[in-house]
Amino acid sequence: MENKLIRDYWTIIAQKDRSGPEHYLKPLSHLEKFLAAFGLSVNQPDLNLVAPVQDIGDVKPAFKNLTDEILLQLRYEVYAQKEPEQVSPWAEKLMRFCEVRYHDLEKRTVAKLGDRAAARLHFLHLMVFLMDYGVFSGDPRYLNIVLKLERQRWAFDESAIKKALSSRGAEFLAGLFHFRLLLLTEYGLSRISKGPAL
């Protein structure tokens, strides 16, 4: 696979220190396989692998109950291929929520987080989980919802990725999430063009 934008963004990211505080939501965790598909490699050891965070067994899968800690735990289980019976109800519920409430997502996310910037990061993190679940489970419905969510300009703005990657703090983290989403959606589109699943 070839994509000049992805290559350019990765060049910017690869030159940066990956142990900064912006990495607390692990935006680049478990990307080796997908980078490799574009002929890119990780030139620093990945210090930011997602690790178990909390037991979510008792939490009812619902957007209102979703936190960044739960998203990290779900992503950990996706990468480790653990507890699919725990992850899939969350993935299905969140995907349906995003489909059915598509036109109110901004309002609902800002109302839940109480702050626009935090809402944007949380929403990008949710998109990352949905996309990760899609490529790890092979289910193209998750690529479908992420492609739709990429039209939610309040959260995802492809034209501003370069600027975000040159920033610091939350803006930089948002840029890293954008990069991850771009990489995985391109990967997913390429896979589904060639075969029956992602």
Binding site: R96, K148, L189, G195
Partner: protein, 276 residues
């Protein structure tokens, strides 16, 4: 004589007209036709939220172009079906004039006026030809239930754009129609009949497929309703885990699905297969 009520998405629905007339000719008593009003802001808002900009295309095709939306094809279209069956009506209201069948307009198929119609007519069955989700009170007042013909093979492909999804997932043998009872879930009610319809050639497009399916849907719905009322077919419950719910497909994926008809599909020459 069996009694039924028809639910219709619009007074101009050719599908409603065909289904109603063919059922009437089979000796089924049509107690009423309940029609959703077209000029209805609540309906527009609800459907726009679900369908987005393609609702405008749908309105253009179904309410403005109507018959002009069909061009000659090498398969039977809805318009051909009307011609072949010598059905001249083009508006549901004509059933009232010609056959004194009550036609009741509403803004929502869950409205009290619909419940009133059902409670008065006490139908054996309701035949749904479109009009949105149906809630419990209406479901419970519909005799044996409400029949819907879903443009996909259940239980595997529930929800929206399931022709596109089956093609995208290269499940070319999972394209077809299912007549099933509606329940509170999305396409999760008991199944009466599945008709698998093979793609014919790599020349087909999704739009043409949908057009080709319309008259088959109509005939399948009528035959299945009659068979059910005669007691010759039985309901088969679905298990939730046997299928997935699909949603409207993103245009990029739709383009890939269209390409797959040309690049992945190999015609096998199968005839239409019907499974009860």
């Amino acid at each position: 004589m069996s009694k039924i009520v028809i639910f219709s998405p619009s007074q101009y629905s050719l599908y409603t007209i065909c289904v109603t007339e063919l059922l009437r000719r089979k000796g089924i008593e049509i107690k009423a036709i309940v029609v959703l009003r077209l000029l209805n802001f609540t309906r527009f808002r609800k459907e726009f939220k679900r369908d987005g900009e393609r609702l405008l295309k749908k309105i253009w095709k179904k309410a403005v172009l109507r018959e002009k939306a069909y061009s000659p094809a090498d398969y039977e279209t809805m318009l051909d079906l009307l011609g072949n069956e010598r059905i001249t009506m083009r508006n549901v209201k004509e059933f009232k004039k010609k056959f004194s069948i009550p036609v009741v307009f509403c803004n929502d198929l869950n409205a009290p006026v619909v419940l009133d119609v059902l409670n008065e007519t006490k139908p054996d069955l309701v035949v749904f030809t479109g009009g949105g989700l149906i809630r419990k009170p209406v479901l419970q007042s519909s005799g044996h239930g409400i029949l819907n013909c879903h443009m996909g093979v259940l239980p595997r492909y529930r929800g929206m754009d399931v022709i596109e999804w089956a093609i995208l997932e290269e499940q070319f043998d999972q394209i077809g129609l299912t007549v099933h009872f509606m329940d509170q879930g999305v396409d999760t009610g008991d199944i009466l009949r599945i008709v698998k319809i093979p793609l014919r050639s790599s020349e087909e497009t999704i739009a043409r497929l949908r057009e080709r399916f319309e008259p088959i849907m109509c005939r399948t719905m009528v035959e299945t309703a009659v068979d059910f009322l005669n007691g010759t077919i039985r309901r088969r419950p679905q298990k939730a885990e046997d299928g997935k719910q699909y949603f409207i497909m993103h245009p990029l994926l739709k383009r890939i699905a269209e390409q797959k008809i040309r690049t992945k599909f190999r015609p096998s020459g199968n005839a239409t297969v019907a499974n009860d």
